[in-house]
């Protein structure tokens, strides 16, 4: 019977193409607007590393001003000082750990004809790659010895390797960066976590860096500091070293703690560390150390902005308005079909059969509306991309679950819109309809 009802639905759509088109358009507009906003919200709030997001913890210790909290929510600073980052790394108390910082520098390709260019750099530790499951195309991460011995090694992003080495296996080759010669340890495959959770302080939706190199090189090579630098008091010594040894925060740190016991142990270690530092005259504030897993950290950092949430509600309200219009149009359509419904009831259709037939008709309108909505959502996402530029590039693509969600949303919306008109259609009195013919 379902195929028969579908055939009747298509005939009914063809019977009044203008009315059918208006309904498809109403649902398409509502679904398109909703899906545009849902997609942005979904990608903003998606778990970027679901297989282990509950085992990765962002480290915060409260080294801030004794008289004023860093944050109105009394959260610790969102970054670490150089001193704390390097001390915690040296302690090696987690299964894996990686302090890191954002930097940048000039790359001078070996080809004399190629112009030097600026590249973004992530300074970090060897564990970064295993901890975040970063895929390698060639080579491997540098070693722990490279970190410890401040060796000038670099891992290139795929795009950077394509640009400098034409996509070939460049491991072992040398490259001049910031005036220093680096050896390529490895080349990444495409890697762009969305959101870019490992450093939310410099933008949750920025692209991942061009180059990765040991953080231990920062002091000897005096590598630039980029990203956010926040200080609650002036550095006590001038110069680069003075900055590094100050209470200014510019470094992030993640640890991998496979189970709850590991987390409790690391939390105790952090508290113990801060208490030791207090004895040295640092950390004037009460103990306030935090370990936040990936999703908690994204929540704290408000990756999904409030205005995006408001837009989501507005888009659902718009869908509701579109549905009200669809209900009105369906009422008009089904009212016009009353004589046929009366006839079908007279010659044997039960109310249930009339109900299913017309609900399927509403559903088929919904599916067509869903397809139109998908096309409109793609247009809408392109609009978002054009409006926000590179920032939104990673937020404006529809994946299979979102496509299915759009069709499901359209189907549910149209079935909801169809319920009342369909119920009305079932109330048609056949004798009245046949008499009025």
């Amino acid at each position: 019977m379902i195929s028969y009802y579908m055939k009747l639905a298509l005939l009914s759509l063809k019977r009044n193409p203008l009315l059918s088109g208006l309904m498809v358009l109403a649902i398409g507009l509502g679904v398109g607007a909703c899906m545009t906003i849902i997609t942005v919200n979904y990608l903003m709030s998606a778990d970027p590393i679901p297989q282990k997001s509950d085992q990765l913890f962002y480290v915060q210790v409260d080294s801030w001003d004794p008289h004023e909290s860093r944050d109105e929510r009394n959260l610790p600073p969102d970054q670490l000082t150089w001193t704390d980052a390097t001390n915690l790394m040296a302690a090696k108390r987690a299964y894996r750990q990686a302090a890191m910082a954002s930097s940048g520098g000039v790359v001078e390709p070996a080809d004399a004809d190629a112009k030097p260019f600026n590249a973004s750099i992530r300074l970090t530790y060897q564990d970064f790659f295993a901890m975040f499951e970063v895929p390698f195309l060639y080579g491997s991460p540098w070693s722990a010895e490279d970190d410890a011995n401040e060796r000038q090694v670099v891992v290139l992003s795929k795009a950077m390797n394509d640009k400098i080495f034409g996509g070939s296996d460049s491991t072992g080759q040398t490259l001049r960066i910031t005036g220093n010669l680096f050896t390529v340890a490895g080349v990444l495959d495409h890697w762009q976590p969305v959101p870019r959770f490992y450093d939310l302080t410099t933008g949750a939706f920025n692209t991942s860096e061009d180059l990765f190199m040991p953080l231990s090189l920062k002091m000897p090579l005096e590598l630039d500091s980029s990203g956010n630098v926040n200080c609650w008091k002036e550095p006590e010594e001038p110069g680069f070293k003075g900055f590094l040894l100050s209470e200014c925060v510019n470094f992030q740190m993640w640890v991998e703690l496979p189970d709850a016991g590991d987390k409790a142990e690391y939390q105790a270690f952090l508290n113990n560390y801060v208490n030791t530092q207090k004895e040295l005259g640092r950390f004037p504030r009460p103990l306030n150390n935090r370990l936040s897993d990936v999703m908690q950290w994204m929540e704290i950092q408000e990756v999904v902005a409030d205005d995006a949430r408001i837009m989501l509600w507005l888009s659902f309200m718009f869908l509701a308005v579109c549905l009200l219009n669809t209900i009105a149009l369906l009422l008009a359509k089904f009212s016009a079909k009353a004589p046929e419904i009366g006839l079908r009831r007279a010659i044997g259709a039960s109310r249930k059969e009339v109900f299913i037939q017309h609900l399927l008709e509403a559903g088929s309108i919904g599916l067509l509306g869903g397809l139109l909505g998908l096309a409109l959502a793609l247009l809408g996402l392109q609009g978002v991309g054009a409006l926000y530029g590179e920032f939104a590039d990673n937020l404006t693509s529809l994946d299979l679950p979102l496509v299915l969600l759009a069709l499901l949303l359209a189907l549910i919306a149209s079935l909801l819109a169809g319920l009342y008109p369909t119920w009305r259609a079932c109330q048609v009195n056949p004798s009245q309809q046949l008499k009025s013919q």
Partner: protein
């Protein structure tokens, strides 16, 4: 086969109650061809609607094949309509988007019959009304008489125990009307019971039994004079 005992039906509005049928009693035996006449507003159509299970009634009892249908659910009434009753309407009531084959198919669809059996029944029905060659045509491509034949084919396809015809020739010229009546006679001769509401005394006289309805009651077996009176009153 059909037995109505003291059936009453009142249509009520806020202002007025209209007695469409009052104390209406009728028995129809299997294989009969009955005509129902009477002036407009006499209750003919209400009787036909109740007989066809399209309307409920307020009082009395109605037995169809010895089954008391007074308290049947809406679903059960739909099923009975589908299986036992065929309808023929004055204005044919064909579905304009469906071709003849699909129009005749409609009642069979609700019987959940295998496709091969439906096809065979549809073809047989269309052959009976001499329209098998036009099964892919739309109703709008046929004359009024042909459309009524399709409606008869649709009613026949379900192989009903009885046919209810409401002014089946009302929209046809006399030649087409005669042809449709001949067809109904053939169907009746094959064993189907027919109840036909008509204003036309000439048609009524050709049936086995004529019933004259007035003020919601069977007046008596109609005479030719009453049929003529009915024609005058109704303006037919």
């Amino acid at each position: 086969m059909l037995k109505m005992q003291h059936i009453s039906k009142v249509f009520r509005t806020d202002l007025v109650a209209t007695h469409a049928l009052r104390d209406f009693c009728l028995e129809v035996a299997e294989g009969e061809f009955i005509s129902v006449t009477g002036p407009s507003g006499s209750g003919k159509t209400t009787f036909l609607n109740i007989a066809g299970l399209l309307e409920t009634f307020d009082q009395g009892q109605y037995f169809l094949d010895d089954e008391d249908i007074s308290h049947l659910s809406d679903n059960a009434r739909s099923r009975l309509r589908n299986e036992k009753i065929g309808f023929i309407f004055q204005s044919f009531n064909l579905i304009p988007d469906l071709n003849l084959f699909d129009n005749v198919d409609v009642p069979l669809r609700y019987r959940k019959m295998p496709a091969s059996e439906r096809k065979q029944r549809i073809e047989t029905s269309l052959e009976t009304v001499c329209l098998a060659s036009r099964s892919k045509h739309l109703p709008s491509q046929l004359s009024g008489g042909q459309q009524q034949r399709v409606a008869i084919a649709r009613a026949l396809a379900g192989q009903p125990r009885f046919l209810l015809a409401d002014e089946p020739t009302g929209n046809l010229d006399s030649a087409m009307a005669a042809s449709v009546l001949d067809l109904l006679k053939e169907i009746n001769a094959a064993g189907t019971t027919i109840i036909m509401v008509t204003h036309d005394p000439v048609l009524a006289e050709q049936t086995d039994r004529q019933i004259y309805v007035r003020d919601g009651q069977i007046s008596n077996i109609a005479s030719t004079g009453q049929l003529a009176e009915a024609r005058l009153v109704s303006g037919a």
